[in-house]
Symmetry: C2
Subunit: 155 residues, 2 copies
DNA sequence: ATCAGTGCAAACTTTTTGCACCGCA
DNA sequence: TGCGGTGCAAAAAGTTTGCACTGAT
């Protein structure tokens, strides 16, 4: 619980290659660079963030599509303006965000395992009752960090 | 539980007008129609959904921007392909989203009251342990709708 | 040698903007 | 009657696609 440990235990590249092989795709150099870039990022990236680095736009988009199909990256639900991508949960670990509505800072957090499990159970049945197969969830906690709470008092 | 009851107790139009006035904007007929459309919808709408109805694209986009600034509507987190909009929480009540990661469709859902309350309790303490004062939360369920699950099988 | 993957450029989709006009405070 | 809001059309921004080429198996 608390701040996410963000422990990367598995070999991301080996796993990426395995996932791609499973759908008859190669782990080409461009795709490896793309994964490398996402791995180094501390937040989800939009396509052009990656393109600036090293690959042409069309390759970025095409490879992101393939990597998403393979389950290596996932499209992150953003505010709808751009599509953003991050490494898939299986490669990155499940976590939540604690967002300060005052200053906008975002912290990665984990929930206690029992709460997380109960949450997942509850949501699985809720989703099923609407005809959906649950694949995950996103929970953002909105709050005020101690700094912003303190400055509230000064107003 | 299940699909949101959409209980609207306050006068949405009066509140919208008040919020717009607060930032020196008028509650024009076009904006009223736009709010009306969102009010009737059971799920967030993308700009073209609204445009089809009655307003030109440019007016829809411009008015959505103004209404968002006023706090009347909010941009919903989608799968990043299109921006979707709904009435702000203060006008619409608290609810969650069931998002299809395949096609991007979003459904409004309520959680059973006891689960919602437990969730809030759990998160309040989690936030506090990171030095935050919780002010709210966003919970999105990610899944595949029946249509997308079916088309998976055809691949 | 074959075919998956690449890079360029052009097409396409979604969103924003310039400008002339309309109508309410 | 001045200025906020509108509608059209054109531009900009973001994403996808066609095609010829390259390189790994």
């Amino acid at each position: 619980m608390g701040v996410a440990a963000n422990s990367v235990r598995i070999d991301v590249h080996a796993e990426a290659e395995r996932l791609l092989r499973a759908i008859d795709q190669r782990y080409s150099d461009g795709r490896r660079r793309l994964v490398e870039t996402l791995l180094a990022a501390t937040h989800p990236l939009v396509a052009t963030d990656i393109a600036d680095d090293d690959l042409p736009q069309s390759s970025v988009y095409r490879n992101l599509t393939v990597l998403e199909q393979a389950g290596v990256v996932s499209k992150v639900l953003t505010n709808g303006e751009r599509a953003a991508f991050e490494l898939a949960e299986r490669l990155k670990g499940h976590h939540h965000h604690l967002v300060c509505v005052g200053c906008g800072q975002v912290l990665d957090i984990d929930l206690p395992a029992d709460i997380e499990r109960r949450l997942t159970d509850d949501m699985t049945s809720t989703a099923r009752s609407a005809g959906f197969v649950l694949v995950g969830h996103r929970l953002d906690l909105l709050g005020r960090c101690s700094t912003c709470v303190t400055s509230d008092r000064d107003d």
